[in-house]
């Protein structure tokens, strides 16, 4: 009887301890991870990227022996990695170093300078791909972790923590960015911004570091990343719909104040879809297929729904009248 009780007691004790000794998907069932858990979960999907600088006839950053480095995120088990365009654009030979320190030659598959994203590939399978989060559930104030290669390649897979300071931010950018206060440095570029569920919600880009104010870093939101990846996979590049106008937002919009003034067309490119559709200078674009556009960011985010060849109905204000114009987008020349 005594032995039976002992065994049962041990069993019960172990059963109670189980939630504290398990990790991974089981812990997700019981809520968010600790920071340590997040780093442990995501770090295997984070890679260091190092490469020889292309030179043409000029040495780039000769103080670093012509080596450039950054960070990337494994997005598929068969070796596809997302990073910033500016990390790999100037690399002649790209090498990816996994979290287990094994290094592989990589090749550039696709790159987009405007979104500052690039897709590279290593010939290695069975890799731990990162899990993407949902932008819809990202909230200001939530804790996030950035993992990357801050200042030196020997510091790769370093982790820093902060909070989301803002969403819908823009810094010399025509696209929405996530603002946070995680400490990042040059080599963090291309690395993940991760929520406390261990999900990637952004790709860090130090392209915007020039603004140099402490406690402000910017990441490309995960929905934008997913949009770009889907275009890379289907088309090998981002297929932007082209309207063929130069436009500007109102002063209120520039200051981030509420407005419904729309975007003013300053110039219509001859032969462009805008000209063919009859859009004119001084027209104000108010909506695209029923979606209000009052800032350049609004317009660019809206354009993600379209491809060259698609048609959209523009609601415009011309000389005080609201008219609707159907436009067929073409490819950016």
């Amino acid at each position: 009887m005594r032995i039976k009780l002992k065994i049962t007691a041990i069993f019960l004790l172990l059963a109670m301890m189980l939630p504290t000794i398990t990790y991974g998907s089981n812990a997700a069932k019981v809520g968010e991870y600790s920071v340590t858990d997040v780093v442990k979960k995501v770090s295997p999907s984070v890679v260091g990227i190092i490469g020889k600088a292309k030179t043409g006839d000029t040495v780039i950053d000769s103080s670093a022996d012509g080596l450039l480095f950054g960070t990337g995120v494994i997005i598929k088990p068969n070796g596809y990695i997302i990073t910033n365009a500016h990390v790999v654009r100037n690399m002649e030979k790209i090498v990816v170093v996994l979290s287990n320190s094994r290094a592989y030659q990589a090749r550039l598959k696709a790159l987009d300078n405007m979104y500052d994203l690039a897709l590279i590939k290593i010939d290695k399978g069975m890799l731990p791909a990162a899990t993407f989060g949902d932008m819809g559930s990202v909230e200001v104030g939530e804790t996030v972790v950035a993992i990357g290669t801050p200042l030196s390649f020997s510091l790769r897979n370093s982790a820093t923590m902060g909070i989301i300071s803002g969403i819908n931010r823009s810094v010399d950018s025509e696209f929405r960015l996530i603002q946070s206060d995680v400490a990042i440095n040059k080599g963090n570029s291309g690395g993940p911004l991760v929520n406390m569920k261990g999900e990637v919600i952004g790709i860090t880009s130090t392209k915007y570091m020039g603004y140099g104010i402490e406690g402000m870093s910017f990441s490309i939101p995960i929905d934008t990343v997913q949009y770009v990846i889907s275009h890379f996979e289907k088309y090998g590049k981002v297929m932007r719909p082209w309207l063929g106008v130069r436009m500007s937002e109102s002063l209120l919009a520039t200051y981030g104040l509420p407005t419904d003034e729309g975007l003013t067309i300053n110039e219509v490119v001859p032969g462009s879809p805008a000209e063919k559709a009859g859009l004119m200078e001084d027209d104000r674009i108010l909506e695209v297929d029923g979606v209000s556009v009052n800032t350049i960011i609004d317009y660019n985010e809206c354009m993600k729904k379209y491809l060259p060849g698609d048609t959209a109905q523009f609601t415009i204000m011309r000389a005080g009248n609201i008219i609707k114009v159907s436009v067929v987008f073409s490819q950016v020349p």
Binding site: K54, D61, V95, N100, A103, N113, Y235, R240, Q331, V332
Partner: protein, 657 residues
């Protein structure tokens, strides 16, 4: 006692079961070893213990068929189902192209054969086990008794030597597995230059004061002895110096020609040339801390390096660092535009055959090929005002039809197409140049606000057999992404200084004036003007025809009747020195109410592929004398072009007389 023991055992087993249920699945091997297990007739595949559902392997005749996609996913290979119905596999340095239903396939563009055909399965391709065994660095085992198939990959391609990132050489030798050479190098050597096709390599060892260069050149049918004789007859062209010693050693293997000399920088050089498989291999050791080449021949260490050179290296030697840049049977050329010390952009890239080289290159164009008879040329020009490439292409075509010599030019096709993922307009035509016919395949693409004009030229007689290779090369053409950058503005700035641009946005006749040298003329706005490093020279050409106009001004000559008048004009004398020509006219004529020295040359240069007429008119003003040159190639010799160049000449005016 028995019942108690049984119960405690059950409880113990339960405890262990509960504990192990939370342990992560143990891998079958370590990170670098991949073990895949399949069974004939079963949809279960295990990869390092992880279970994956796949299409069932089966046996047909003696062939075991496996599902391709899930296996290659585990390898990390890239699979592309192409629009032409083939399946491409990219893995490390190899490109495999499979044709569903065929037992033929291509490995790095070379045809190979399987015992059985590749089949289309329900979820993807089913391939013979032989394909996996032959083309991937794996061990495979099949047990017919139980239908089990095992695939073991022990080397996952992880890099063990990253010294290439710093260009340092960590192995005792370097080699080129494509061109089959290898040579020993001293430790602490560094690669300081390597061409895109790895046909030229330069290695420096500053500790020993030596540079080792290896160059692979086309032999064009020359034997070693013929090469040796060529060097002896014209050493300046080959060595830039007179050799102090020259040897032809045909009694050794491999046979070589050796030249010892002091180069123009007063450095000691020993150079050996070898000929094999229609290539000339040059091995050049420069001992730059010495002047006398005998210091090399008397140095047993340096001679050991020279004598270590061999032509039997095919790769797979751990003591040799392979410098070949050949991937999938091709080499990549990237047009990387450097803007400043920290910024550069890729304008375009293309993969070509390793035997190809840069034939000609300038700021905004490059010719890659075997020479002027077979090449791909890529021009990047400022974007035209049109935004529709098809309209632009049709406009170009109408001008080809107008300006090309109908006796030599024949249109083959003109149609809309695509190139590098962009809409293109393609014009293919046959052109007779000299005594031979060539096929030209012109492609126009608008991208990044710029115009890309890619032209393939190849001899007509062999075009059909080469067309598959040419198509492969064109498919590798990629245009760099410049979105969100100010690159177009930079390009236009640099183009105005170093490249060429339209004279005007409209096609109408426009004036052009050179105030410094006091002349002017009028040309159609669509003509291109070229930036020149010589302030006294201006050059123009038509984009629709092979016609060019150039004006060179020199301080006023005392007389235009000088016997050596050609040497007074730099551009004219350089042109005549570099192109085969025969003077057919040399006389003074009266044109536009003045005396003009008229010189006409018939140009027939097979190597440079230039056949036509160069006409020079020399006139004198108050301060300057001018050579007005027009070059009309035979292919553009029509009444329309004749009228156009004569009109330009008629408009040429010297001011201040």
């Amino acid at each position: 006692m028995k019942p108690l023991k049984y119960k405690s055992l059950v409880v113990f087993v339960l405890i262990v079961a509960v504990l192990t249920a939370y342990l992560p699945a143990a891998a079958a091997g370590s990170d670098d070893i991949l073990s895949i297990e399949l069974t004939v007739g079963s949809e279960i595949m295990k990869a390092n213990g992880a279970v994956i559902r796949v299409e069932k392997p089966h046996v047909s005749g003696n062939t075991v068929y496996l599902p391709l996609d899930p296996i290659l996913e585990c390898f990390g290979a890239e699979i592309v189902y192409t629009s032409k119905g083939t399946v491409e596999i990219i893995y490390r340095e190899d490109l495999i192209e499979l044709i569903p239903g065929s037992s033929e396939y291509y490995l790095n563009l070379k045809k190979k054969q399987l015992v059985s055909a590749v089949r289309q399965g329900l979820k993807g391709l089913m391939v013979p086990l032989e394909l996996i065994t032959e083309n991937f660095d794996v061990r495979t085992e099949y047990n017919p008794a139980n239908g089990k198939i095992q695939i073991i990959m022990e080397d996952d391609g992880a890099l063990t030597d990253l010294s290439f990132l710093t260009d340092s050489i960590t192995k005792p030798a370097v080699g080129n597995s494509y061109f089959n050479w290898r040579v020993n190098v001293p430790s602490s050597s560094r690669i300081i230059d390597i061409s895109f096709n790895s046909r030229y390599v330069c290695i420096l060892n500053s500790y020993r004061g030596i540079a080792i260069e290896i160059e692979v050149l086309p032999a064009d049918g020359k034997t070693l002895e013929e090469y040796y004789n060529s060097v002896i007859e014209d050493p300046e062209s080959y060595l830039y110096s007179e050799p102090s010693e020259a040897l032809l050693r045909q009694d050794v293997v491999p046979a070589y020609a050796e030249f010892q000399y002091t180069n123009p920088d007063y450095e000691a050089v020993l150079e050996r040339a070898f000929v094999k498989d229609n290539y000339i291999y040059i091995l050049r050791l420069t001992y730059y801390i010495e002047t006398d080449p005998e210091t090399i021949t008397e140095n047993s260490y340096l001679m050991g390096i020279i004598n270590s050179f061999s032509l039997d290296y095919t790769g797979n030697d751990r003591t040799v660092q392979n410098l070949s840049t050949v991937e999938y049977g091709l080499v990549k050329f990237e047009n990387y535009f450097v803007l400043d010390a920290t910024t550069g952009y890729t304008l375009w890239e293309i993969s070509v055959l390793p035997e190809w080289d840069v034939v000609e290159q300038s700021f905004n164009y490059i010719f890659l090929g075997t020479g002027r008879k077979e090449y791909i040329s890529i021009y990047v020009l400022e974007g035209p005002s049109e935004t529709d490439v098809a309209a632009y292409g049709r406009h170009m075509l109408s001008n080809y039809e107008k300006y090309m010599n109908p006796g030599l030019y024949k249109l083959i096709s003109a149609e809309e197409g695509s190139l590098a993922g962009y809409k293109s307009y393609n014009i293919m035509y046959r052109l007779t140049v000299g005594d031979s016919e060539y096929i030209y395949d012109d492609r126009f693409v608008f991208a990044n606000g710029l115009m890309y004009n890619l032209t393939v030229k190849a001899p007509a007689e062999s075009y059909e057999e080469k067309s598959a290779v040419i198509d492969n090369l064109l498919e590798t053409f990629r245009i760099g992404d410049l979105s969100g950058t100010d690159f177009k503005d930079y390009f236009e700035f640099y183009n105005s200084m170093f490249g060429s641009r339209r004279l005007a946005s409209s096609d109408r006749i426009v004036p052009y004036q050179d105030r410094n040298y006091k002349w002017s003329l009028r040309l159609p706005g669509y003509w291109m003007s070229y930036a020149s490093f010589l302030n006294n020279v201006k050059a123009f050409s038509s984009p629709y025809a092979h016609i060019e106009v150039a004006v060179e001004a020199v301080p006023a000559l005392k007389s235009i009747e000088n016997e050596d008048i050609e040497k007074q004009f730099t551009i004219l004398s350089i042109f005549l020195d570099n192109f085969e020509n025969v003077k057919t006219v040399d006389k003074i004529v009266k044109e536009k109410d003045e005396n003009v020295r008229l010189l006409v040359y018939r140009i027939e240069d097979e190597e440079e592929q230039l056949f036509g007429e160069l006409k020079c008119r020399i006139v004198t003003g108050n301060e300057y004398s001018y050579c007005f040159m027009t070059l009309v190639s035979d292919s553009s010799n029509t009444s329309a072009t004749t009228e156009e160049v004569e009109n330009i000449w008629a408009s040429f005016t010297v001011s201040g007389r």
